[in-house]
Symmetry: C2
Subunit: 120 residues, 2 copies
């Protein structure tokens, strides 16, 4: 059983992401994603699945990146699907994530476009 | 029955949107949205439902706006949900749309964030 705090609002994921990424907690970051989630990263590539996402973060965290909290746009919700999005501070264009409500009422990311830079 | 071309790939919607918007066809644009779709427009507000979206476009088209085709990022797909996104040419930050596969295999928009500007 996971002991991580769950996201009971879509925008909780955005906050928990920054908290866990700044602690270097790759497992905690991966827990914010659905088992079959798809992330458009590294640039020009796709990472699919929670375990692959955890490994991606484990690798990224060896460089000790720091994330600033960024003010997201208002969440758009349609039934059990929501779109969270953020104009980022770091010049990567934008971030957008699709989150899905789970049977227990919490939300997980199913699709993640962390930057809006055209792949070369 | 609608005689409009359907989108059998998520990115078709992006293309059909520009074609129909430039013809001033508000009904055709609205046909790209699900009955319960949610659009973050006008700025700082929400428009919900295909008929409300059609009216929004009918009003917007009295100003005869012209849309340039913009190159979208690769579509992210997870089952019947996909995320389409575009770094826009017009300085509005970004565009992101969630599209859902319909029982006939075509796709409709269910959530639309047409610009990434923080509401005041």
């Amino acid at each position: 059983m996971s002991e991580y705090e769950k996201a009971y609002k879509p925008e909780d994921i955005t906050r928990l992401f920054v908290e866990r990424a700044n602690k270097g907690d790759a497992t905690g970051v991966a827990e914010l994603y659905a088992e079959d989630a798809v992330v458009a990263f590294p640039p020009g590539q796709i990472t699919q699945g929670r375990e692959a996402i955890r490994k991606l973060w484990e690798m990224a965290m060896t460089r000790n990146p720091k994330f600033e909290p960024e003010e997201p746009l208002p969440t758009l919700i349609n039934g059990d699907i929501a779109l969270t999005s953020t104009p980022p501070k770091d010049g990567t264009g934008a971030r957008a994530q699709v989150v899905r409500r789970q049977p227990d009422g919490s939300w997980l990311r199913i699709l993640d476009q962390p930057e809006f830079i055209q792949p070369k």
